[in-house]
Symmetry: C2
Subunit: 212 residues, 2 copies
């Protein structure tokens, strides 16, 4: 196993660090790996499959941007030769690719194995909590959609992720992360509301309280 | 007063929206204005001076990037002709410029008027709370320093701002904002710690619990 997982990690690093938003996606993959292994241990899953699927689940992102094909499909296809190279069995390869294909929030595919559920949970957990907020805010800054864009994204996606968790361990990890996300979004909305909508009529009503 | 503050706001919008990071700085100026007026009302300050100082406090930012001179000094200088244009008295102009010159965290100038203290408090409050976190995360994404860069900035600056507030009303507003910031930073650090430091030896110890 030692050489297997090291080789997979090497391939993932090469693929993700060379792509445009590389560092971010590679860091994300390592965090998903760690969360997936934590859940996998508690849920008594096949950790070899879980670990490989977590590391490889986003390797098709750069190609998605070029082709428009979902990275869940692309990552699955790109994973096959790497898994063959490190000597995974046909059954293991099939389990890994199946997990990768069904991990994505935006598609309507439900994982049908424990390992697929774990990858899906780990990926969602990294989009929740303080790290999820950090990632979404960074994205909103880079794309220029601003605070309002972040708040919409939080309402439409981030704050719904806790309902999409599959495993008991994933749901347990999700509780604190959901709470933090909710608190931050509520407070941001409160602060924005308290300082926005300052219109010119309101401005012109400023009195000079000390007279003049 | 009506025409005065409208004209000032127009000049600020022209100056800040045309500069590189314009939209952001203009939004920030409007939020500082609103917070400053809220504190100013409670502290019975000269709202004409407070409002003008809040709107004008960052207009020298673009020139700071070109010249390296502190925007607190530049904004003060650039404010003078605008304030003369709208008919502020010499005493009012001197109070506004004085407040602008002493608002900055990074310089060691302490405000010596109530209006200066209010501008300084309002500017710091917009760097605290969920909005402060949002602004700092957006900045860390744009400059590429990442999560670690954000956490350092939070430790070195954001989490110390509550100790630098001057007015009773500013300190009251700062309590909730400081708590939110602290919670987010603690949780982010906890989440990062729980998923980082996954080294190759650790990876290679992944067992296949279902055997093979």
């Amino acid at each position: 196993m030692k050489k297997d997982i090291e080789t997979i990690e090497e391939r993932v690093r090469e693929l993700l660090q060379s792509s445009e938003r590389g560092a971010h996606t590679y860091d994300h993959s390592l965090r998903v790996l760690k969360i997936a292994l934590e859940i996998g241990q508690e849920e008594d899953a096949n950790l070899k499959v879980v670990g490989a699927a977590a590391l490889l689940h986003d390797i098709g992102r750069a190609e998605e941007r070029e082709t428009g094909i979902s990275h869940a499909i692309l990552s699955g296809e790109m994973a096959r030769p790497i898994l063959e190279e490190v000597g995974f069995s046909r059954e293991e390869i099939s389990l890994v690719i199946d997990a990768i294909r069904t991990h994505r929030f935006s598609e309507d595919l439900t994982p049908n194995t424990l390992e697929g559920e774990i990858l899906s949970d780990a990926d969602k957990l990294d989009a929740m909590g303080a790290i999820g907020a950090y990632r979404a805010i960074a994205q909103s800054a880079v794309t220029g959609v601003g605070i309002e864009g972040f708040l919409s994204h939080a309402d439409e996606k981030l704050l719904r992720l806790n309902q999409l968790l599959h495993t008991p361990s994933g749901k347990a990890l999700g509780k604190q992360r959901h709470r933090v996300l909710e608190l931050l979004v509520d407070e941001l909305r409160r602060e924005v509301a308290s300082t926005e909508g300052l219109t010119t009529p309101e401005l012109s009503s400023i009195p000079d309280m000390r007279g003049e």
